[in-house]
Symmetry: C2
Subunit: 253 residues, 2 copies
């Protein structure tokens, strides 16, 4: 747990990297002056990689940082009163985890690595201070939180109104969009989560996820090989999902 490096960074080679990080355009999609990126960079701690199954933080723990995923994938989840896990989100590189902890100063969810995962730790109090000095950073933070609200509400629509086919199709297309945004193939990718985790997230039984995917494959919509997914008929998939798999129906950049 303790990071041996005295300056509290995982590896000195990893310091001062926001400038070079291929994710910064997503993680910081704003024109920060070099000097400002540097200041942000100063407060960020790169942590040692988490192994599959390791926890980043636990539900109820005191909140002090948000985390940007650099590589790998995380899931966040609640343990419900009946003891079952409810997954509330999956986090891919460039995405920020932990924002829900700000309000109560405790994380309301746990975060666990689905595979070997590295994150940048951003102490929130520092980030908040810095945001006072860099208005564009503050605005970026508001935007990120607003987007999260937006995305979660789309998820609410999905859970409340969509049937199993639409849920699975939405899920796959949502991942596709996220891969594409990071410069990967939008049509061919590997699922880092199990069928069980997909079902849990989508409010479906494992068997249903499995059946839907099999049927999608039979109908030539996708090709499934274990965790490897290829989207064969993207237009048809999009038709299935209906309009907005993303936050707004209108695309603004």
């Amino acid at each position: 747990m303790a990071i041996s490096n005295s300056n509290n960074r995982f590896n000195s080679k990893l310091t001062s990297q926001c400038q070079n990080c291929s994710l910064s355009a997503l993680c910081l999609p704003i024109a920060l002056a070099d000097e400002d990126v540097n200041r942000l960079d100063q407060i960020i701690e790169r942590k040692r990689p988490l192994k599959k199954g390791e926890m980043l933080f636990h539900q109820g723990e005191e909140f002090d940082s948000v985390f940007a995923v650099r590589t790998g994938t995380l899931k966040t989840f609640n343990i419900t009163n009946s003891g079952e896990e409810q997954i509330t989100g999956f986090y891919c590189p460039s995405e920020l985890v932990g924002l829900s902890g700000i309000d109560e100063n405790h994380y309301p969810v746990s975060a666990k690595a689905l595979e070997t995962t590295t994150v940048c730790e951003i102490p929130f109090s520092h980030l908040e201070q810095l945001s006072s000095q860099i208005p564009s950073l503050k605005h970026q933070l508001f935007r990120l939180m607003s987007r999260k609200i937006c995305d979660d509400q789309q998820m609410m629509v999905l859970l409340g109104k969509k049937n199993a086919d639409e849920k699975v199709a939405s899920f796959l297309l949502n991942l596709s969009h996220r891969f594409k945004k990071r410069g990967y193939s939008a049509t061919s990718f590997r699922l880092s989560m199990s069928r069980g985790e997909i079902g849990n997230y989508l409010g479906l039984a494992v068997e249903t996820v499995s059946r839907v995917m099999t049927r999608f494959q039979k109908n030539g919509l996708i090709d499934v090989d274990g965790k490897e997914i290829s989207i064969i008929n993207l237009p048809e998939m999009e038709k299935l999902v209906g309009a907005a798999g993303e936050c707004a129906t209108i695309e603004h950049v």
Copy 2:
């Protein structure tokens, strides 16, 4: 639509009221210096009341303000591709609507009054500027957005994992908490939304909402008289819901 009053306020008697507003402790639950409250007050516009059914803003419209509900109730909703309405939230006095518009600079949802409703309009650009000068206001904003994320995720759990009884019970207790927080009875209140709207919000058919409420009444959990609800057996209701009807399982104040 246009506000006749030249200073763009509904009524001069309504200006400079944050200090007096009974909601400010909820709307601004922070120790703002008098002077700071004044500055916030300056940027707020009190609008003329909305009549039942009137829109506050439309999905797709340009975002420029968030709104604090003063009296009445609002709902926010999406129109899905298939043309049906999906309600994403209900907003009671002291609650803030419109935060999801920050990201894309357009409201991703529409907001409509469920009854005669008054709101304070808070131009976001001003609020953001002001938040640079008043750190506690900035922090409060982060907290509000974080809480919204938290609440929405609880809603996702509700939609994904709960059965009809649990959904309806959660909904009623959630309202109960919100009324209580504003100093009203936690056990006796009037629903400003129709059964149809409740069902839409909870991912249930109207008939199911109706049946569940009837059954709750038969079992002595609640008393229903049209839109008037009394919670008779609060402990049993809470048991039904399970643990967290609120954001975190742990209550911090």
